[in-house]
């Protein structure tokens, strides 16, 4: 009996020590990790519009400088109009966040955050679209839990560069989104649809399927914004000045 008690006591003491230690480490390092995550997200926004190169290393300060100089974060209502920050609380799906890359006073790209289901967890990333409202300018993934070497390839440059120049609308102007093909596009997809498909990852069919679905869902939610860009190009109401405190 006393043997059992001793074991239980030891286990409890062990839990306490490990728990306190890990909590202290996690809380102590959290601000630093938060900063890294924020910088990583800003860097990924920059990747989609080629303001930063994947081959170069940047300090968090450099990233912040380029980001703040070029990118504006704004909120628009589901109908495609600029929303007051107060509307943010109106509930999920009511207000959309977009990032604008402005150069010489003209919007070059709008960047939408991607949140998709993956095979093992959520996939987070960004997709930049040209100001014509139909061409993909860039795509990145900054967080996922897919299998390294298989679905994990979505974080690789070759896969992400795949997306550049693809169209989210067909020739008649109808919304079709971008899909991930099962294998190489030129072998798997009929020619007239090639501009809506990107090369898939072999061994990661399910990741591709989930990401295709997630992209379609996100892009269709942002369709009013895209429509606005398609119809009016730069005179789209989105270029109204935004609250600088919103970054």
């Amino acid at each position: 009996m006393s043997e059992t008690l001793k074991s239980i006591g030891f286990a409890l003491g062990m839990c306490l020590v490990c728990g306190v230690l890990l909590t202290a480490a996690a809380t102590g390092l959290q601000p630093m990790q938060e900063k890294n995550r924020l910088s990583d997200r800003q860097k990924n926004v920059l990747y989609t519009v080629d303001l930063a190169s994947r081959d170069k290393a940047y300090t968090p300060e450099q990233i912040r400088d380029i980001y703040e100089k070029n990118i504006d974060k704004i909120r628009v209502s589901a109908a495609g109009e600029i929303a007051e920050p107060a509307e943010d609380k109106a509930g999920d799906g009511q207000v959309l966040t977009i990032y604008l890359y402005t150069k010489n006073g003209e919007i070059q790209n709008y960047i939408i955050p991607i949140e998709s289901q993956g095979l093992w967890g959520k996939i987070y990333g960004y997709m930049a679209l040209e100001n014509d409202g139909s061409t993909v300018a860039g795509f990145t993934v900054y967080e996922h839990s897919e299998t390294p070497g298989l679905g994990g390839e979505i974080e690789k440059q070759w896969f992400q560069e795949n997306f550049e120049g693809k169209k989210i609308v067909d020739r008649t102007g109808r919304f079709v989104a971008v899909q991930i093909a099962k294998g190489d596009v030129d072998k798997r997809v009929p020619e007239e649809k090639e501009s809506h498909y990107v090369d898939g990852i072999s061994g990661a069919t399910l990741t591709g399927r989930y990401l295709s679905k997630g992209l379609e869902k996100t892009l269709s939610r942002y369709e009013p914004v895209s429509l606005c860009f398609r119809k009016q190009r730069l005179s789209c109401r989105l270029q109204e000045p935004t609250d600088p405190g919103e970054k």
Binding site: E3, K6, S7, F10, A11, M14, C15, C18, L21, L22, A25, A26, L29, M32, Q33, N36, R37, S39, D40, A57, P148, G149, G152
Partner: protein
Amino acid sequence: MKLTRTKAFKTFAGPAWYENPINMQMLGICSALAVTVQLKTAFVMTLAMTFVVSLSNLIISLLRNVIPGNIRIIVELAVIASLVILADEFLRAYYFEISKLLSVFVGLIITNCIILGRAEGFALSNPPHLAFVDGLGNGVGYGSVLMSVALIRELFGSGSIFGYTVVPERLYAAGYEDMGLMLLAPAAFIIIGLMAWLQKYLVNSRK
């Protein structure tokens, strides 16, 4: 007494060379395949692994007389897991880029059989200073194999060392190409196999 005759040195040299965890005992192969595409990741993995195995050996050896026998594996795992999480949190705070490259493999140090093996097989029955040295030896033994494999894979697979290009442009112009196989896991398998063969031959011929 010569340094090489001391018990501490023998404890260190054993796992570092004669009983090398990867080449001689065939342990920890999974992570050796996964993180050896680049020297940088292999180096950080080596540091993290050495940190965990030497400290877990030290702590478990310090506690060896009070750990109840019937829950010892759980206690060992709790110590190891805590150290691994500490290492992971630290990397995420200070070396974010590398921690992203290593992805799940730092967390998977918990399941690395070298660590539990040393805790169970050595630390439970030896005094703290020897256990710590044994952990260091294992870390160095594991790390030296990792770094050698990573050096070969990065040099022939990407033409660089620690991210710096070393294969001259002229060679590429003359028709040299990087070896794609080196970037894939099977390459590590082949290299580790050859290295194990070489080391077994060297160790046996000394006897």
